[in-house]
């Protein structure tokens, strides 16, 4: 790797970092520990400064060990505060993060005094990220950490999965959940700390969260999510360094990641906003359609088996439709061949009647069930009809149907309905 140009080194380095932070970040996000990365990044600063004061050089391995030490101390402090005091986790993270960072700032200003020796250039890189400082040795360190982290995840995939989704169950099965949790945190700490000099303190938190949160939009399966998050991380690293050559690398990597996030937020299948809005829109339209059909059935119920001709005002009065909504619904219904429409009158077709009767039946069964078996007041039961048949046991359904039939309110479907069109048709002509 010695023959690499700086830009190639930067690309490889950011891609490595993006990939591994995506993978380990997935666990952090799923575990509700998204902001631990943020805390670790801040808490690393005093460690970096102490290591520099001790070693006197900017050696990535040495500084990283220092960062790891204070980072783990910070995790321990937060755990202790949450366990033994009334301070809640959010405040504990905030306290530890800011106090450690304050100590780091103090140490940094000590280092910057003229009396303290050593090459200070690049130390500021830990705050803001400076991939331009990357050495070949740093790449080996990154690759080494990536290997360790990915191997850990591969080896303990099943255990990590269990801890992420059902800690209590994992505990009851005898898994050492605390140890597994610590393993995740340690891997997170490793990744955060080797990433600091590349993207800087704040934006390292983004590297942990963004690819994972992005991947979550695309899948419900953990292994797919890990692969996707790794991929998004690599993409953010590569594209970010390419697109943002004139800008601070960390910021452009994170903005690229944010763009991928935004795209996924909008366009991911199932969990994306567009597809969710579409689903909701379809559902709303279906409900409106069913309301219309049921209104038509109920308004004409007294004249069955003749298909009543209804006036537009009757329908409006029944449901308080807005005129435009009603017009659109009626158009759809005409297209589906459910109603026949003249200027002022509306009549169900035989096909429409059959649909409407089925809907009405389901609705009434639901109502009856809610009133009699779920203790709901009569004026609260007029809920949207749903497929009651799939939810209630058959015996109960038969009983309810019988009851409706006894009251003469059971809509006639299937067997009776196909006959009626003929008679009505002859009547009308």
């Amino acid at each position: 790797m010695t023959g690499l140009a700086l830009s190639e080194k930067i690309m490889i380095g950011t891609a490595l970092l993006g990939g591994m932070s995506g993978v380990i970040g997935s666990f952090a996000v799923l575990r509700g520990r998204s902001l631990v990365g943020d805390m670790l990044a801040h808490a690393a600063l005093p460690g970096v400064c102490l290591a520099f004061l001790l070693l006197g050089t900017r050696n990535l391995l040495g500084l990283s060990l220092g960062a790891l030490a204070t980072g783990l101390l910070a995790v321990a402090a937060v755990t202790g505060i949450v366990r033994w005091t009334r301070t809640k986790e959010d405040a504990a993270i905030g306290i530890v993060l800011s106090t450690f960072f304050g100590a780091g700032v103090v140490l940094l200003s000590v280092i910057q005094k003229p009396g303290v020796g050593g090459n200070k250039a690049g130390l500021n890189g830990y705050l803001f990220g400076e991939p331009g400082n990357m050495l070949t040795g740093d790449l080996y360190l990154l690759a080494g950490v990536a290997f360790v982290v990915l191997m850990t995840v591969a080896l303990f995939f099943k255990e990590f999965q269990l801890v992420c989704f059902d800690t209590d169950f994992a505990q009851s099965q005898g898994w050492p959940t605390l140890l597994l949790d610590l393993a995740i945190m340690a891997a997170l700490a490793l990744v955060t700390i080797v990433g600091l000099p590349i993207v800087g303190v704040i934006l390292m938190a983004a590297m942990i969260i963004l690819p994972a949160a992005t991947a979550r939009f695309w899948t419900n399966r953990l292994h797919v999510m890990l692969l996707l998050a790794g991929g998004f991380g690599i993409a953010a690293g590569l594209l970010g360094t390419q697109l943002g050559r004139n800008y601070p690398a960390g910021a452009s990597i994170v903005l690229t990641g944010a763009a991928i996030f935004l795209f996924s937020l909008l366009f991911a299948p199932q969990r994306g906003m567009v597809s969710r809005l579409m689903t909701e829109f379809r559902l709303r339209r279906r409900i409106a359609r069913e309301h219309l059909l049921r209104s038509l059935y109920e308004l004409g119920e007294s004249q069955l088996p003749e298909l009543a001709e209804l006036h537009l005002e009757q329908i409006v009065a029944d449901r308080y439709w807005k005129p435009r909504t009603l017009e659109r619904l009626l158009d759809i219904a005409v297209d589906s061949n459910w109603i026949k429409r003249t200027d002022q009158t509306i009549q169900l077709t035989p096909v429409g009647l059959r649909h409407a009767a089925e809907l009405t039946k389901t609705h009434r069964l639901w109502e009856l069930y809610l009133m009699q078996h779920a203790d709901i007041a009569a004026d609260h039961v007029d809920r949207d009809a749903d497929e009651v048949e799939h939810l209630l046991p058959e015996s109960l359904l038969l009983q309810l149907q019988q009851q409706l039939a006894d009251e003469g309110r059971l809509p006639l479907i299937i067997s009776e309905v196909p006959k009626s069109p003929h008679e009505i048709g002859t009547d009308n002509t």
Binding site: V29, S34, D90, S98, G102, V105, A206, L210, A213, F261
Partner: protein, 434 residues
Amino acid sequence: MPTIFAETILFALLPEISVGGWIVLTGIATNAACAVVGCFLVLRRMSLMGDAISHAVLPGLVLAFLFSGSMSILPLFVGAAAVGIVTTFLTQSLHQYARVPSDASMGVVFTSLFALGVVLVKKYVSGLHFDIACVYEGSLELVPFAEPVAGLPRPLFTTLVVLGINLVILVLFWKELKVSSFDPSLASTMGFSATAMHYLLMVMVAVTTVASFEAVGSILVVAMLIVPAATAHLLCDRLGIMIALSVAIGAASALLGYAAGVWFDTNLAGMMTVVAGGIYALAVFLSPRHGIVSAVMKNMQVSLRVLREDLLAMLYRVEELASDKPISPEQAQQAIGGGWQARWALRGLARMGQIQRSPERLTLTDAGRDAARALVRSHRLWETFLVEHLGMPLDHVHQPAHRVEHYIDQRLQQELESELSTTGQDPHGREIPK
């Protein structure tokens, strides 16, 4: 009040305000302004919103700077308030509508906005008077040399204005802020919007952060928001006192931090943060009601009392058996587990005059015998109750009774007695002493 108190001391010490005086005053004002809003953040468990907003305001600052062409106060506040609202709105919508976990949505929003800010700084403001390092660390040292506004250095003036605004909002919306912090649904039933209060608070956080930015930087402002408030939360249980206390703690950490910073010749804002963290650590251990030391003390007192009572009850039972075999202090200590706690328990009993000890024999005094009788009575009443009412087998009742006997007072004894059919004998056939 404590702020004014600290200021009077300062003015008394320094007839003419020196460079250090201005720095300390700015530190105190910043801390006070932050502590007032910080208390609500801590109580609402939204401390990290402070962290998030203090980073997210960066693009707002840059935009305000670009539009107004200066670092004047009003555009900065408007920019900050706008970003505060945007951050809150985005965080909540991501969580609510896109089902991103709440902490992740906060992380996504504030880091992205911050990155945007960094890029904007680089593109439009680099070379101008806008240093990224200042964003993190602030430059408290330079405060006295800032251009004066109304006779005060500008950052101090800004913070005092914000402190004033915060206090006015606090007074005006005291009830609303309080109720919506502790019980949002009650707030809704009382007819005001908890969401509106949430946004109000977030705008306050954003404006306070921006005002403190120049002096202390984005991360250290998080410390000033959260640490004094969390410290006060460890020390008291009333909101009003908590706010006053957190302002006082903030002021104290500013003073002490300044002194320590000058002493070690290092970054002052950083030192104030470290001192605040130190005060928090002290409170964690020493808080009278919620501290670790007092909790350990309380635990130890209970366990010593339990040991003393076990000893008494044991001696009583030995007396009851009318055995003439003496029990030595060593044997007794062994019987209750040994170690220093057993030794302390024995010494305590002797001091309280409940036992008499000689090297080879322990005997109960009359007072000791009365205390022991009450204990054994509790024990045996409980055993009887377990058998009679819960139907527990005979060989399972001693352990629970042994544990619970220390917490049965006279009133409970009477209640147990009235519940039981036989109160003369316990289920093992031993006498229940009166």
